[in-house]
Symmetry: C2
Subunit: 111 residues, 2 copies
């Protein structure tokens, strides 16, 4: 449970930045080297590397040195925990509205 | 677009903490005063108020002073933007696997 919470902290924290979200969407299309990634962003290589590192720490991106190039790809994690949490939250809200509806139905016509 | 990104930054940032996620799930069940919320968490009132404030800034919780009590409830936002982003990311990953599958299908039997 503690590990699940820590993993969620990392995932949500990693997603709380527009550049990091854009990197994930970019890598969703295809793998890319750090330099290729950098071409798409108005940012220094150092700045971009920091963002990639945060994503790597969260397990959302994997990097591998191939010769002189560092290749980036998605994974090993795929935001399964984040999706699960969002679904759990959504279900809870729905159940609450269902209860509210049932209550209004029961009390209909009650003065 | 900038506003959408800033809103996502706030939402994901607010969710990057186990206490704040627990507060959202607690308020998903029913509205609660700050003191009622505090009963469920091993935390000082001041610490809890700070978390509620972050959720309020992100638009995920609304508070209202009723007499001497501050009532908390969910909203006005309901993580719609977060859900939308997660779905967009999921769709992209699926499309990529579809393309990979199609490529493997096309090259099947090729030496």
């Amino acid at each position: 449970m503690v590990q699940y919470q820590a993993s969620l902290d990392h995932s949500f924290g990693a997603l709380a930045d527009p550049t990091r979200r854009a990197i994930l969407l970019r890598l969703g299309r295809s793998d890319a080297s750090i330099s290729e990634l950098c071409d798409g962003f108005e940012m220094t290589l150092t700045g971009l590397k920091k963002h990639v590192h945060v994503l790597e720490e969260a397990g959302l991106v994997t990097t591998q040195k191939v010769g002189r190039v560092r290749q980036c790809r998605l994974g090993p994690r795929r935001l399964e925990d984040v999706t699960k949490w969002i679904e759990q939250y959504g279900t809870m809200i729905e159940q609450r509205f269902d209860r509210l509806e049932a209550f209004l139905e029961r009390t209909k016509g009650t003065p």
